[in-house]
Symmetry: C2
Subunit: 220 residues, 2 copies
Amino acid sequence: MSNLAPLRRSTLVEDVYERVKALVMEHTLAPGERVNIDALARELEVSATPVREAMARLESDGLVRKRPLAGYTVSPLLSRQEFTDMFDMRVVLEGAAARWAATRASAEARAAISAEAETVAPLDSSDGRRSHAAFTAVDARFHDLIADTAANPLLRDSIHRLHAHLHIHRLYFPYAQTGTTGEEHRRISAAIAAGDPDGAEAAMRAHLDAARSRHLPAFD
Amino acid sequence: MSNLAPLRRSTLVEDVYERVKALVMEHTLAPGERVNIDALARELEVSATPVREAMARLESDGLVRKRPLAGYTVSPLLSRQEFTDMFDMRVVLEGAAARWAATRASAEARAAISAEAETVAPLDSSDGRRSHAAFTAVDARFHDLIADTAANPLLRDSIHRLHAHLHIHRLYFPYAQTGTTGEEHRRISAAIAAGDPDGAEAAMRAHLDAARSRHLPAFD
DNA sequence: TCAAGCAATATCCTATAGGATCCACGATCC
DNA sequence: GGATCGTGGATCCTATAGGATATTGCTTGA
């Protein structure tokens, strides 16, 4: 009976960080909006001190910006240039992740990726259509799974950071085409399952280039 | 007369962050060492509050680790595996940086990179030999310059973060061979100057692989 | 009507204090 | 002798208060 989870006794800072991060991710706190620390502290029923510390961490994540002596604001939406830069980074990082996943993944991991690639977003109960939120959730899980499988913590964290920003952007432009995402995912997954690093990287790069093209019209 | 620097009125948190970061980078605070917040606050002649906020930022940088309710410790030295992972990341990120620098750099930037590649570490005044510190400083400037030239803020920040950890490691193993570093740098610079993205990326990857090989014996 | 200057308010930033938790050391028991 | 338990001290974490700064709105003048 070893290797138990470290039993996280939480501090308020931790909880506040998670809560505020969620507020930003679900755009209850909108991009560009000012964040009043005192008001936020009252809302969460804590004092300002742990809130300030949590905000410092969020700033390092790039989710909020700080102006000294003038408070925090939620990071504004990505400009077209920033969005392009982000996808350039994704191509580089996730391309490498796919490559390494193809060489390093365990049999279980390959199976998990294949399963995720076959997953189809569930139908929305209200209107019977596939919701945008459900689609992005499936997409995010697929990409995060590959990032995890690449077995490089630095790479994994970098990719996760980028995905947070992508998630925020998607919430504001929920009309991007789904296109051939499913098929592209299956191609990536097939290459990883086959242990083909070149093919996996190429498929991932192609997928991300296509995804970028699907998103770019939102900036017109 | 526009475009003046925003005139950073600093807050204590900013100053403390820079000071503590320097303490870690120059290993006045040694890897693995516990960081007593109250003692550090007394030392810097400030209260614990801004120190805590600065530590939260340093944790996001990976320079310190936090155990809830048990304080901060300076991040331990990289294991062999972590060191290898870091260089895997460098190959990916800096390879892309070299590629983009080759296509996007202005004439001035190309000249600056070439000049930096020709720079030789100054001789130490005391013993007349090239000091390890001087060599690493020149090396760091060359790589940072390319990262800046790639014109992607996300990429630049990611590379800078990695370099901080590399710097700490180097201070503890100051006997790594210099080898053919100078020549490798000149090869990278030549490809960038020539606007050859494939060549620049290949040269950077070769350089980093060689550098990793020069460092790895430190773990034996 | 618009710009500039000033006052009042809101907000941020830091210091301090006290409760909560962990760590080290010694005592006790097997 | 070695392990377990309990206590004292150190340290962390949070709340609160007050000084410092930015922002807002109004007034004044051109």
